[in-house]
């Protein structure tokens, strides 16, 4: 117990110590979180009317971001398969980073759902035992189960491994590998269930596609590893933790194939939506070309599709892919492109036109944007903290023999 307390204390010490640049980073995240808290206080007081949502577009950037970050969480664990199943040594070193990313992304996803609730204080109504958990009918209850389960898995596995390393012990494979394998299946589960949340709405024809689940997976396995490549390059620049070029190359190959799959499925959807145009495809027409002069999201989706294709073409060439000056920006572009396509471009057009054919557009308000930034700030903070502790332990700068105070020299 004492060791465990020490573990927590030294972890916290690690998180809050670092270079000037690191403090600037923390300061930025803190101001984002404060801005978010301010926005949320307005929303709490005024109700969801403080957002840009209305009865016609009843889900906005909160749910868009929720869906996107569930994807990032699922994608993060894609490193786990090669690491544990294929026994790839490179990957097993970095898999904890993927799990840390999954935790941060899940926390963001769950916070977005909470921010979207009209009666957040009544949230306990959906908890089993004290409330009424409408399971298995409601897909939302499924999502609550899989997301929290996944969060628990991704907290428990790295915590166990790191705690063992902190104590200088080797983690016992028999204990954690079954959970690792479970978490791989679970990663598919969270994103499929989240897709089914949308597919389950009977007359939202834009979402009502069997390919939506697989599409979610493909885009998740693009965006997740792309983000990890970006994180790796930051880690390589800011710490002495070794991540080999080989690892990044392998990851970039994963990104490339997932990006192909994503584009193929996007193309299939586009064919279905545009070859024969009907009332049911009005959503896609709105998204790509606008309807009756309403075209708020059109520039975003074209920007997304074009940059998605460009980035995918770039990383298709081996020489470019191995050049990190190209790879990292390409991954960044891919990540942003999928963010737009999955978030804004998927949720919002589903409501435009409405079920009764009315076209009412949606634009987020400042309050909504502040809350979103705040949540992202919190997520990045969580990620930074987890990675910092992880790197300290892995590089041996933090173990129980050194006490909990760490000199602020490293990182």
């Amino acid at each position: 117990m004492k060791t465990f307390l020490n573990f927590i204390m030294s972890g916290l010490a690690v998180v809050f110590t670092g270079s000037v640049k690191y403090y600037l980073w923390l300061g930025l995240l803190l101001s984002l979180m404060l801005a978010g808290a301010y926005g949320y206080s307005i929303q709490l007081k005024e109700g969801l009317g403080a957002t840009g949502m209305h009865d016609h577009v009843s889900w906005g950037i909160y749910i868009s971001n929720f869906i996107f970050f569930v994807g990032v969480a699922a994608g993060g664990v894609m490193l786990v398969i090669p690491a544990y199943v294929m026994k790839d040594r490179d990957f097993s070193k970095v898999v904890l980073i993927g799990e840390g990313l999954a935790v941060a992304a899940l926390i963001m996803a769950l916070m977005f759902v909470l921010a979207d609730l009209g009666g957040v204080t009544r949230f306990w109504h959906m908890l089993p035992v004290i409330g009424f958990f409408h399971f298995p009918q409601s897909m939302l209850t499924w999502d609550v189960l899989v997301l929290n389960g996944y969060l628990a898995l991704n907290l428990a596995i790295p915590a166990y491994i790191l705690y063992c390393r902190y104590q200088g012990k080797e983690p016992i494979k028999k204990i954690y590998v079954p959970f690792v394998i479970l978490s791989v299946f679970w990663a598919f589960g969270i994103h499929l269930v989240t897709a089914f949340l949308l597919v389950g709405a009977p007359d939202k024809t834009f979402w009502s596609s069997a390919i939506l689940g697989p599409r979610f997976l493909a885009s998740a396995f693009t965006a997740g590893p792309a983000l990890i490549i970006i994180i790796f390059s930051i880690i390589r620049q800011t710490s002495d933790y070794k991540i080999s070029d080989e690892t990044i190359d392998k990851l970039s190959t994963v990104v490339m194939f997932a990006a192909y799959a994503n584009l193929v499925m996007l193309l299939s959807e586009i064919f279905k939506e545009f070859y024969w145009s009907s009332e049911h495809t009005a959503h896609a027409r709105y998204l790509f070309f606008g309807l009756d002069g309403h075209n708020a999201v059109t520039p975003f989706i074209w920007g997304s599709v074009v940059s998605n294709v460009l980035a995918t073409v770039l990383i298709s060439f081996r020489s470019l892919r191995e050049n990190h000056a190209v790879l990292v920006p390409a991954c960044f572009v891919l990540f942003i492109a999928i963010w737009i396509e999955k978030g804004l471009g998927l949720v919002i057009p589903g409501f435009i036109p409405s079920s009764l054919g009315e076209i009412v557009e949606y634009l987020p308000t400042l309050v909504e944007i502040l809350v979103t930034l705040g949540i992202i700030g919190f997520g990045l903070f969580t990620l930074t903290a987890l990675l910092k502790v992880f790197i300290r332990i892995e590089t041996g700068a933090m173990d129980r023999n050194k006490g909990w105070w760490v000199s602020p020299s490293a990182k």
Binding site: G52, H54, H56, E358, V360
Partner: protein
């Protein structure tokens, strides 16, 4: 005088006044908050529909009291003439008739007794049973009215069914309904909602 002769409309038998008890009633026993059946009938001055097999349906009395026709129109006599009216203006001079093209007063009103209605098939009806008269031409509407697809129920869905007479919604002289400005303007765009 056909005063007491009863009229048989098309496939319609008339029970003048002698309503028999309804064969079936919609209601289960009335609960607190429901009107009493007899009270409702009295409230709407309702009479059973004088159509064979439909005596369980009641027709509400007119919403506005009619003038008593018999004041001027005495059966068998020339109607009383209001001498104060300027020449060229007869009684009812202000009633315009726009009903099925070329109809005039005596297309419906009986010449000898204008309080009674007489159809093209020579079937007679009273003003209270105007539906019989209207139904002699508008057969589809009449069937729908009896069934419940046309017309308006003045009571709730439960209990005795009391419906409006044709002439309570349609002016028989100008049966087409007037246009109106709609109320309760919706605000479907958020910009508009904000302006409120």
């Amino acid at each position: 005088m056909l005063k007491n002769s009863l009229i048989a409309g098309m496939a319609v038998c008339v029970f003048a006044g002698c309503s028999k008890e309804p064969e079936h009633i919609y209601s289960e026993p009335l609960e607190q908050g429901d009107y009493d059946r007899q009270e409702r009938i009295a409230e709407h001055r309702a009479q059973p529909v004088e159509v064979s097999g439909y005596a369980h349906i009641y027709v509400a009395g007119p919403e506005t009291e009619r003038k008593d026709c018999a004041r001027c129109h005495k059966p068998g006599e020339e109607p009383y003439r209001d001498e104060s009216l300027p020449p060229g203006q007869d009684a009812h001079w202000d009633i315009a008739i726009h009903h099925a093209g070329d109809m005039e007063c005596f297309s419906c009103h009986k010449k000898e007794d204008p309080a009674r209605l007489v159809s093209v098939l020579d079937k007679e009806a009273r003003l209270e049973t105007a539906y019989l008269h209207c139904g002699s031409c508008h057969k589809d509407q009449f069937q729908s009215w009896l069934g419940g697809a046309h017309g308006k129920r003045v009571t709730g869905w439960l209990g005795v069914r009391i419906i409006k007479n044709c002439t309570d919604c349609h002016d028989p002289h100008v049966p087409a309904r007037e246009t109106t400005l709609p109320v309760a303007q919706p605000t479907i765009t958020p910009e508009r909602a904000m302006r409120h």
